[in-house]
């Protein structure tokens, strides 16, 4: 371990550490623009210059590995002058339009110019101007502000896995661009906005809507997919202005997907902000009391066995508990959280979570994907796989349809019967799984949604048991697409026959009343003759056949417990109030219970959470991964020949919030090529 001296302090660091990292270890701050912990080292901004003894010139600390006996000075007159010089050069062509720049107030260049720059300007010639580039509906560009740190280029190539961005021309004429001014074809493209140390790349939907210092920041958790990315919700007044990532090394590192970042305009559009009751053929606005009365009237002569409930993909555990208890009070246990008909069962927790954890992907040396496209189902899991393939040489094989996942995948074909062959032990994949020290298998919802999903699950279980479950390593993983799913399964909210039986029974008239807790992902036309109470946020699929609509709160408007695909329990926080008459879901159910004369036994969130922990003890383990016990699951039987369907339709339209979002609609339009006129002239 090399020892070096930084500003008089001796420090011993791991070999291969850079001088900049060593400085950070002893708490010495080095200004930088191009250097980023998660990207390769470029060394092109020169802002991190420090003095090294016996070196005739200052060195770029980000690119210099530490050496035994190095003596570094970061506070000499020469370092000060070097920083001022670099800063002056960077500012020569920077427009200094901070007052009209969205980055103003949270800009690295602005901050570092204040801290390390000269106070005056000696450059009186014309500055260069650069034409703005078009990068799609999410990223706004002001390329004159660019200082060519190339973070965006490195990010899209290294993390995003798409070679869309580059730096053209040279010297003073350098321009950062996407190839032919096209959209960045990455689900993580919004992260270049955070990475940009100046205001060259900013958020297009957020542009000129707010200043960073007038926003109220609330730390929360995302529900657009089952990753549970940690986010910060920035609100002004009662409006969410933007969503940014929060650092969580084990979940999303510091990235978020584009749906997570840009879904927020969907929180304001197509919202249910008042109760509705069906009168004749049309839904009419109603007061809360009238809506509850309508439900009470209907339930008067309905038996418990004629009531069912379906949980949507964005539901928090608190409202699930309240709904479960309410239904229990009405004499029904029929409550179903698997809208998509997946074959997962509650009970054995190891059967429905990602046992390795997302960070565990980095430990694995072999990965078998079964019927999943992580790029769209969970972009951050995909980014983690890509990282592991690049850093640790993780080998990835796929049984399922061949898609571009941004890394090399050995395709074995889209046929479920392959699973049995792998289990047989003579298949190429069996050998690879056997040879690996830490093999893992990720089963997607596309594989489990088939008619023989339970058999597929069993086959995956057997493969995992044979190859992937070892001392201290459980390589069996299920990748979810719905934020509410693991929570629902933890609460045991599955009904016999699943969603199909509910639909069939409703059509046959055996079900009289169905509660939908934001359930919008299945065809509700089967419920057209059933009395449907829809509790949710958006006018989407679920309201089409609803008889009473109760407006609920979205994930930014309530504190709710969610369990991500790894089984990690996390909580959202209330950043804004629900619009209009909408209320937090559990309070609606609590009030409805009063009307229906059902005793729920809790009057505040604390009491409700105590009940939640009683039903699902793991809900108390906030932000920890509790290893799940391995057991048998799935159903014996043959697996039919044939491929796996996709788990989700359009990546940008997977839930009611996204479907309401205009930004997402634009993303879809651009990719479908319907918006050719917009391309290139929009920016």
């Amino acid at each position: 371990m090399p020892k070096l001296t930084i500003d008089g302090q001796e420090v011993e660091v791991a070999p291969g550490t850079t001088v900049l990292q060593a400085c950070e270890e002893v708490g010495v701050e080095i200004p930088r623009f191009c250097y980023h912990e998660r990207l390769s080292i470029a060394g092109n901004c020169r802002m991190c210059l420090v003095d090294m003894e016996r070196s005739p010139k200052p060195i770029a600390s980000c690119a210099m590995p530490v050496g035994e006996g190095m003596v570094i000075h970061t506070n000499t007159e020469r370092v000060k002058k070097a920083r001022e010089g670099v800063m002056e050069f960077l500012l020569i062509n920077h427009p200094l339009d901070c007052p009209i720049c969205d980055q103003g107030g949270e800009c690295d260049l602005q901050d570092q110019a204040m801290a390390f720059g000269r106070s005056g300007n000696r450059y009186h010639e014309n500055k260069r101007a650069v034409e703005d580039k078009y990068m799609g509906p999410l990223v706004e560009t002001a390329m004159t502000r660019c200082i060519h740190c190339q973070r965006c280029v490195r990010f899209t190539e290294e993390v995003g896995g798409v070679e869309d961005m580059g730096a053209l021309w040279r010297g003073e004429h350098t321009e950062i661009t996407t190839y032919l001014d096209k959209v960045i074809e990455s689900e993580l493209s919004g992260n270049v906005i955070d990475l940009c140390p100046v205001g060259a790349l900013t958020s297009k939907p957020y542009s000129f809507t707010a200043r960073s210092w007038e926003l109220k920041k609330t730390e929360s958790v995302d529900v657009m997919d089952a990753v549970g990315s940690n986010i910060r919700v920035d609100a002004r007044g009662n409006a969410v202005m933007r969503i940014l990532p929060r650092l969580h090394e084990d979940v999303n590192e510091e990235w978020i997907s584009d749906t997570t970042r840009f879904a927020y305009d969907g929180l304001k559009l197509r919202r249910l902000d008042t109760p509705y009751v069906k009168k004749g053929k049309s839904l009419e606005e109603a007061a809360w009391g009238d809506a509850f009365a309508a439900i009470k009237k209907k339930l008067k002569d309905v038996k418990g066995s004629e009531i069912a409930a379906v949980i949507g993909d964005l539901a928090d555990m608190e409202s699930m508990v309240a709904l479960k208890d309410l239904l229990g009070g009405l004499g029904s246990k029929r409550i179903e959280c698997r809208q998509d008909g997946t074959a997962l069962e509650a009970g054995v927790r190891a059967s429905y979570i990602m046992n390795t954890g997302i960070a565990g992907i980095e430990e694995a040396d072999f990965l078998l994907l079964v019927g999943t496209n992580p790029r769209f189902e969970a972009p951050l899991v995909n980014a983690r796989i890509r990282k592991a393939t690049r850093k640790n040489g993780l080998k990835v094989a796929n049984i399922g349809s061949a898609e571009d996942l941004t890394y090399k995948v050995d395709e074995f074909g889209d046929d479920a019967t392959l699973l049995k062959k792998v289990l047989g032990g003579r298949h190429e994949l069996s050998k690879a799984l056997k040879a690996a020290a830490k093999p893992m298998i990720i089963v997607g919802q596309g594989a489990l949604r088939r008619a023989d999903g339970a058999q597929v699950l069993k086959a995956a279980h057997d493969i995992a048991e044979k190859y992937c479950v070892k001392e201290g390593w459980n390589g069996f993983n299920v990748l979810h697409t719905a934020a509410a799913r693991v929570g629902g399964l933890d609460l045991g909210l599955t009904a016999k026959g699943g969603i199909e039986a509910i639909k069939a029974d409703a059509e046959a008239g055996k079900l009289k009343v169905v509660f939908l807790l934001g359930a919008d992902e299945f065809d509700t036309s089967a419920l057209k003759d059933t009395f449907v109470v829809y509790l949710g946020t958006h006018g989407d699929e679920g309201v089409k056949n609803a008889d009473v609509i109760l407006p609920g709160a979205a994930y930014t408007e309530k504190s709710g417990t969610y369990v991500n695909t790894e089984g990690r329990v996390q909580r959202t926080a209330k950043a804004v109030f629900a619009p209009g008459d909408a209320r937090e879901d559990w309070t609606i159910l609590r009030a409805l219970a009063d009307v229906l004369e059902v005793k729920l036994g809790y009057n505040n969130l604390g009491e409700l959470r105590a009940r939640l922990v009683k039903l699902a003890p793991l809900a108390a383990t906030l932000d920890t991964l509790v290893p799940a016990e391995w057991a048998d699951f799935g159903a014996e039987g043959d697996v039919a020949e044939g491929g796996f369907g996709p788990a989700i339709g359009n990546f940008y339209l997977t839930n009611p919030v996204l479907r309401a979002s205009k930004i997402m609609a634009e993303c879809v339009e651009i990719r479908e090529g319907n918006a050719e006129e917009a391309t290139g002239t929009h920016g």
Binding site: E163, D164, M165, G166, A167, L168, W169, R170, T178, Y179
Partner: protein, 199 residues
């Protein structure tokens, strides 16, 4: 950068294909991308002096690399032209040593003879005039590069004569235009005279 002008798909001629393979073979297998610069140059030559969108994409495809990376290289180096150039691309060096030796006169001689400004192409498509940074032949300054050859020790007169000859399609001898032997001292040897006399 020209984009729409060429729509014809690019393909190697048989000999250039062989030449391209010769370049690729210089690098270890799997590192064929290292050949991007000679291939761009080869393609530029085949395409009468400039590279196009199609050529960059063709080479990206040929070498199995993203098109944007080829474009980065092709735009970084000034020796790749992105607009059509004349049959003779006259590249006048105006960096300090050439300038001290009278490159200003060479530039004005060219402008006068060709009737175009810097960066311009003559109406007949014979000449394109451009200014380049140090051509690396300072010992024979002032220097002009035309096509693959250097013409050195120029004067406005010899420059005009050179262009006249090229315009007529005559053969012109590359190298010093003042009778000097390569970069030997002007007017004959200055040292080792005895040795030369004996030899």
């Amino acid at each position: 950068m020209s984009t729409a002008s060429e729509t014809v798909a690019f393909a190697w001629t048989a000999e250039n294909e062989a030449e391209a393979q010769r370049h690729i073979a210089k690098y270890p297998s799997g590192k064929q991308q290292s050949a991007v610069m000679p291939l761009l140059h080869l393609a530029q030559k085949q395409n009468n002096g400039h590279v196009t969108q199609e050529i960059m994409e063709f080479i990206a495809d040929y070498l199995g690399m993203p098109a944007i990376r080829v474009m980065e290289v092709a735009t970084f180096y000034t020796m790749y032209n992105h607009k059509p150039v004349g049959k003779h691309h006259v590249q006048v060096c105006t960096t300090t040593p050439c300038w001290l030796r009278g490159s200003d006169g060479i530039v004005s001689a060219c402008k006068k003879r060709l009737g175009v400004e810097m960066g311009g192409t003559t109406a007949d498509g014979m000449f394109t005039l451009s200014e380049v940074e140090c051509a690396g032949a300072c010992v024979n300054a002032p220097v002009v590069a035309i096509g693959d050859d250097y013409y050195e020790d120029l004067t406005p007169e010899s420059m005009t004569a050179l262009l006249d000859a090229l315009a007529k399609g005559e053969d012109v001898k590359p190298g010093p235009q003042n009778g000097r032997q390569t970069s030997a001292p002007e007017g004959g040897a200055t040292t080792l005279k005895d040795f030369i006399a004996k030899a």
